[in-house]
Symmetry: C2
Subunit: 500 residues, 2 copies
């Protein structure tokens, strides 16, 4: 083993340890931290981030990487060593471009913007958030300026979440998708709506929680290397491939959402648990991109968890626990109810058929903001017009419109499209999986998920950040990210449910 | 404000953040971490410790401290600034003496010694632990060699836990205490034993837990800045004056131990919550020594929590929750039962009258080990002989004898005496408190603890590490640590309970 590579791994290990520590501090902040701890926690996180950034951008790392690039110039690019150096170098090149004064300024502006957003949303008053979002947009433009000119300025933002992905790629994909989805929603709207009142009855929280936990275990989420705790929002976070945790919540008005959130977060968690342990404490740890990550969570939540075969196995169990709530509700009625399509205002509550349209709307606005083609002050009006155009509904206020998402307040412009891309990738992988695994539906019907999880481990999980998302999808499915499989999936599913 | 002091505070703040992060990682390891996370957690903690140590021993800190000592040479030594510089300089002087290779070697040896101790204890076989303890003793002697010669080599070890305290001081204190305690125990042994069977009935865990929690709230432990979680052993840990947590456990065979552990840990926690918030992220944060810390935990657990006035208020409440278990048990009988004296083998289960003798035994052995006057191989025999001499009982095996405590396995030689000193300080403070607060018993009888907590905040807590323990005790009570108040306290209490 190369002496220099060992040196690099030593430093990468320390950076990884610092980042894992910060992640645990973040997890604690959302789960158990008493309210009083908030201010000190902010300082602790800032210090960890600062030291981690100092190490990641040190001259020592830069020099090592230069030398290693030469040393491994002839190595197989798909070897672990070459990948480790390539990804570490990419992270380094990005990190050194951003001056630490900018990072400090960004922290201050986004902290204030977040506070303003909370207030603006609670009062449903965009004008409170507007000056802060203007500053955030200036920040984002300044950030872009640190990088070499790309085909489109938005490319620089997107690349942080989807390495190698271009704005034009995403636009092309979405342009193929949009008309089909709009058409599908219209067709569904013309049909009789399905009944789902029984989903909104009173369900016992503890019983829902343990039903959800059991499903994640059956999926293959390893609880000796994970756990599920209560938090205001469901999320997944990891501190090692052997310590990957999820959180969940219970909403009395939507009790079974806890079950689907558990499947979703377990999908993320199984990805992280399945990464090659040899990548621990290197630049290759964690999933390769947000879209590929989302493909895993959405696959377990939707392709598996909202499928008929799945509930053929689990519905009798659910009915045993909630006999009175589900009295007289057939499997098919339950299946239809959990797949009800209804254009709605809030992205996070959207069904599979309408979800991507919420994303497309946001992507268009973000690109236009970065291009300077729309002014922040006009956002609410444009938002509402697009909602009307895509989904046929108009938000009654900004809280349920342009103010609903947290992302912009902390400067995350470029993030949203990964949600929709994740949906597409999930269906694209699913078609390939069903070619490779004969009788998968039958396995699912028996509550068996090990062949599926094994396939995902082998083809997706174990690689960590070794391959860029588009390359990984190409390698596994034979083509780059494409909307067709998702359109086929939606059309088949809803034709059955709504009798299209 | 001095420019250089600001620079020092900046660095101290970062060191404090790193240490707080490490403490949270340690808390998580004991409370929620899934088993799989252990190995990665060890690496994360090692990295945080390494970076913290690098910062704490940097030339920059050394230079700043030298300059600040000159700049503040004429300042009031009791000013916050002077104290901050003094304590930071003490920490620095200690840290730079210990080479980092030694720290690395120590980590390896004590990790192995800990594993050997776990095995030795489970098999009750001292020979498994013996070679490791020999290495630990060599480490300890090497550690001592890094420091200037003291009156006694053990002074160097003691100073890490009780700054400024000398071995001779502790020996003098214990020599005054030992005959009185032995005499008291003999007198008690001649009396009729109290009845406590009702303490060992079946109690509902959840109810015990919430009763314990309620008591800590009534004491004044602030749950908006703290919480109580389950862990294998009760402990207190803090990440800020505004985030001070305790842990607890439930042992079915000794159900009410949970209540007393909660009082004990809340005593530690209220100390940390009461430190001047201006000391946050400086060298003055945390309690001044282990003995003073223990004086706080033992005061709330014993002086308050095992007193008759306390249970005059709480016993009717306890009886309401555990009506069947305590049926026919009078307040006085309950009070006697929770104060039962009985020489026993295990330190952590010892009552107030016998506890200090367990400590004295350990101190004598440690000093003799450091002096080279006893060989490790003879420890079990000497241990058993001393148990016979002090407590009149002989351990049937090493697990219940010389192997019972974890401390030596991780190299903590010098620690034990602080437990006994804490008991003494608690009684010494208590006499002063009862001079200052008239009718304190009556307040306690009404469940009022705010005057008491206010006194402790003002006289002890707020100072953090500003004063050395002996100086603090002197300042508050008019004399250095002395055994007389504790002897008076025990004699009065047990004369009543056992009719001496």
């Amino acid at each position: 083993m190369s002496e220099k590579l060992n040196q690099l791994k030593e430093i990468m290990g320390e950076i990884s340890d610092l980042n894992s520590a910060a992640s645990l501090l973040g997890w604690d902040q959302q789960t158990y931290m008493p309210a009083g701890g908030n201010e000190a926690r902010g300082q602790q996180l800032a210090t960890l981030a600062k030291i981690s950034h100092q190490k990641a951008t040190s001259q020592e790392v830069g020099k090592l990487l230069e030398e290693l690039k030469q040393e491994f110039a002839g190595a197989d690019p798909s070897s672990d060593e070459a990948a480790m150096i390539r990804v570490a170098a990419r992270d380094y090149d990005k990190a050194v471009r951003v001056p630490s004064e900018f990072v400090a300024k960004q922290a201050i502006i986004t902290t204030k913007a977040f506070e303003a957003w909370v207030e603006a949303k609670s009062k449903s008053d965009f004008s409170i958030f507007r000056p802060h979002l203007e500053k955030v947009l200036e920040l984002v433009k300044e950030y872009i300026s640190f990088f070499p000119p790309a085909d489109h300025p938005y490319d620089t933002l997107l690349d942080d979440y989807e390495p190698g992905m271009k704005t034009a790629d995403v636009q092309a994909i979405f342009n193929g998708l949009r008309p089909k989805q709009v058409e599908l929603i219209k067709a569904i709207a013309a049909r009789k709506q399905v009944e789902d009142k029984f989903l909104h009855k009173k369900y016992n929280e503890e019983k829902v929680w343990s039903f959800a936990a059991e499903i994640t275990k059956q999926f293959g989420y390893d609880w000796t290397r994970g756990r599920m705790d209560k938090a205001p929002h469901p999320f997944e976070t990891s501190f090692s491939v052997n310590d990957v945790r999820i959180t969940n919540r219970f909403e009395p008005g939507n009790p079974l959402a806890t079950v689907f959130s558990a499947m979703h977060e377990a999908g993320h968690a199984m990805y992280e648990q399945g990464i090659n342990p040899a990548y621990e404490r290197t630049a290759l740890i964690h999933g390769t991109s947000l879209a590929v990550h989302e493909s895993q969570s959405r696959m377990w939540e939707n392709l598996v968890g909202r499928s008929l075969p799945f509930w053929e196995f689990f519905y009798p169990k659910l009915k045993k626990v909630f006999a009175s709530q589900l009295d007289g509700v057939s499997l098919k009625s339950f299946y239809k109810a959990i797949n009800k399509v209804e254009p709605s205002l809030i992205r996070v509550n959207a069904d599979e058929a309408t979800y991507n349209l919420h994303i497309m709307l946001r992507l268009e606005l973000e690109i236009a903001m970065v291009e300077g083609k729309i002014a922040i002050k006009d956002l609410p009006e444009i938002w509402n017009a697009k909602m009307k155009e895509y989904l046929g509904i108009t938000p009654p206020n900004d809280a349920q419109g342009v103010l609903q998402d947290i992302h912009w307040s902390y400067g995350s412009i470029g993030y949203f499209s990964t949600y929709a891309l994740g949906n597409l990738v999930s269906a694209q992988l699913w078609e390939k999986i069903n070619q490779d695994i004969k009788g998968l539906d039958d396995q699912i019907r028996k509550g068996k998920f090990d062949t599926l999880l094994g396939w995902l481990r082998e083809n997706v999980h174990k690689h960590g950040r070794k391959y860029n998302p588009q390359d990984l999808v190409q390698k596994v499915t034979g083509s780059k990210i494409t909307p067709e499989p998702y359109i086929r999936y939606l059309t088949t599913k809803y034709s059955d449910i709504y009798g299209l």
